[in-house]
Each structure stands twice: as C-alpha cells, then as structure tokens.
C-alpha cells in the first residue's frame, strides 16, 4: 500500500523523539526526529495512507517536537545572561 512505509517510519521517529526527550542534549536529536515524523506522516497521508499508524506517527511527532522543543526554546535576550557566563567560561 503506498505510504505505508512512510507511516511506519513516522511512527518509529515519533516514539524515539518522545523517548529522547528525557536524555538532556538528546532532546535536540528528539526534536529533529519529531520534525522528521511529522514530515513522513504528512507525506504518507498525501500518498493516500490514512490508517491509524499514520495518525499515531503524526500525533507522536507533534507531541515529541513540542516537548523536546520546549526544553531549548528561549528568547533572544535571555542570552544576555549567557554572555556573562561565556566570558567566564573555561574551555
């Protein structure tokens, strides 16, 4: 069935993005996988595959993207505080 493989990929990426949320810097990888899950689910739908797997992949992808994204989204000027930290940073 066209789009089924994309839906499976979407589901796997969605699950992984949710799991990686709990691993510190892994949230960045989780965010990328969440985005991939969304894109795969949309493509699966456009190819005509509308079974539960596609919907689950899409929902998990959205939730994964939001939860992983929330950990590293801040405003531009919050970095003002980081600047002070950077000047005292030792490499």
């Amino acid at each position: 069935m066209p789009g089924k493989n994309l839906a499976i990929g979407s589901l796997v990426c969605g699950i992984l993005s949710l799991v990686l949320m709990f691993f510190g810097y892994g949230a960045l990888v989780g965010l990328i996988l969440g985005i991939v899950a969304i894109i795969l689910a949309v493509n699966a739908k456009k190819q005509g595959y509308t079974e539960g797997m596609q919907k689950a992949g899409l929902v998990l992808g959205i939730i994964g993207t939001i939860l992983c994204g929330i950990t590293f989204v801040a405003c531009a000027l919050c970095v003002g505080a980081l600047g002070a930290a950077a000047s005292s940073m030792t490499y």
């Binding site: 969304i38 929330i70 531009a76 919050c78 970095v79």
Partner: protein
C-alpha cells in the same frame, strides 16, 4: 515575573510555554478561518502550518546564531572551541522573531509547492493569526523578563525582581506588553479584513508593512542594547526596513485576494463533491 514553572518536577521556561500556546492558537484560528471561507481544506492549512512551524523554529534559531557572531565569537579561542560554545548557545536558548517569520514563510511555501496547493491563498488565510501568535510570544518575553524596555519611572512601569535577563530592581517600560497589545490589535483588524474581504489588498503585504512600522518605532524604546547597532539603528530596525520594502512590493504587485464570495464558495463545495 515568572521565568520558569515546575511541571512534574521539571523546570520549564515560560517563554517556551507561551510560544507553543501561541502556535496552538494560530493553528486553531487559521483552521477556523479556512473552514469559514471553504476554499482551502482545513487539513491542508493544518499541515502547512506544521511545515511553517518547523521552518519557524529553524529560521528563528539560525538568525539568532547568525546575529550572535559579532557578540559571541571569541577571536582568542580556536574554531573548535567557538563551535563548542555555539552548540551550548544552540541548546540553551535564543530565538529571533524575524528569522522565524522568514523560516515559517519558506516552510509554508515548501508545503504548497510540493503538494501543489495555491500558496498565495493559503498564506493569506494564515496571516490574521500570525499577530496572535506573536502576542503570546511577547507575553512570554514579559514573563521571562527579556526584550525589556528602557528605564522609565512613571505610570505602568515594571520592576523585575528575579529575572535572568532584565536588570533586576530597576523600573522599566513594559515594552513587551505594549507590543503584545499592538499585536492583538493587528490580529483583530486583520481578522475583520479577512472576513469582510475589504479592502481588496494583499493581507500579507499589509501585515508586513504594519508590523515593520510598529517594530521600527518600538525599537527606540527598547533597553536591551546588547543585540548590536549599525549607523544608529538596531539590527531589528534594519530588518524592519527590508520587511517594509517587501510588504510594499507585495501590496503593489501581489494578486488581489481570490474571489471568496458566496457564489465562489458554493462552486468550490460543488467541485469537492
């Protein structure tokens, strides 16, 4: 004010919570508008917004990293050390609205061209919700204390107590709330313009012009000078000039909104059947 909240023992930045709440509001509103017009399916609008959201996240972060070059590139450190520090910046915060706007536009365009959706109509449907999303973001800024205003000790002045970004204990102009109010106003005006389809202007062009003017003026009242200046104007003011020019071009050469009369909607519904 309230930079972080604890959810199930995990500290979550309020800015991020407000940004995602704004994104949800934008999605809901755009889907409702799409349903009302009945020209583009709600599903296509939702998927396009997902693509736009992805583009927004990437664009906002990318522009933030780009404008950080002159402030946070240490000439006395090696390239590898600088890159390592940038990874910290990438993970620890920083989003620039204009970068997000450009990224979102490219993301939406990518969806429309890939799946052959009329891009102009789809973007016009989403435009009224964009200031709503931005207003949520500005309230998030206020809660975090970033993007703060100049020193001001008068009516409605705000003094931050435990902000990680704003100078604590100094009375400031609540510029974030002023911009949020301006965005809410734009949201109401553009929704009315969209629903009445009057005047027959390109909403995206008009929005770019309105926001660029508002932002250009408000920048004079900002107190966070760390973002860099050139020829007496801040980075955002230079971008505002470019955005205004883009808006004028869209207004001048952009197509008039598609026919959303009752007859057109009936024709569209018939063709869907």
């Amino acid at each position: 004010m309230l930079p972080f909240i604890d959810i199930f023992g995990k500290t979550v930045p309020m800015y991020a919570v407000m940004a995602f709440a704004g994104a949800a509001a934008l999605c809901l509103w755009s889907v409702m508008l799409a349903k009302k017009r009945g020209v583009i399916s709600c599903e296509d609008i939702f998927y396009m917004l997902l693509y736009a959201g992805i583009g927004c996240l990437i664009g906002a972060k990318a522009l933030y990293l780009i404008i950080s070059v002159d402030v946070y590139w240490f000439t006395d450190k090696s390239f590898a050390d600088n890159m390592r520090y940038w990874l910290t910046l990438l993970m620890s915060g920083g989003l620039v609205f204009y970068g997000g706007l450009i990224g979102a536009f490219l993301g939406a365009l990518r969806y429309c061209t890939h799946f052959k959706i009329p891009a102009y109509e789809a973007i016009e449907t989403v435009i009224p919700g964009v200031p709503l999303f931005h207003a949520f973001g500005r309230i998030g800024c206020f809660l975090a204390g970033c993007c703060y205003g100049m020193e001001y000790d008068g009516v409605f002045s705000v003094t931050f107590e435990n902000s990680p970004a704003a100078p604590n204990g100094v009375p400031l102009l609540p510029i974030q709330l002023i911009e949020a109010f301006g965005n809410f106003l734009l949201f109401v005006i553009f929704t009315l313009l969209f629903l009445r389809n009057f005047p027959r202007l390109s909403l995206s062009g008009l929005y770019l012009c309105c926001y660029a003017v508002m932002r250009f003026v408000l920048e004079f009242f900002r107190g966070d000078i760390i973002r860099g200046k050139a020829l007496g104007l801040s980075t955002s003011q230079w971008i505002s000039i470019a955005v205004f020019a883009a808006g004028v071009i869209l207004l001048a050469v952009g197509k008039k909104p598609y026919n959303c009369t009752k007859k057109a909607r009936i024709n569209n519904k018939n063709s869907e059947k």
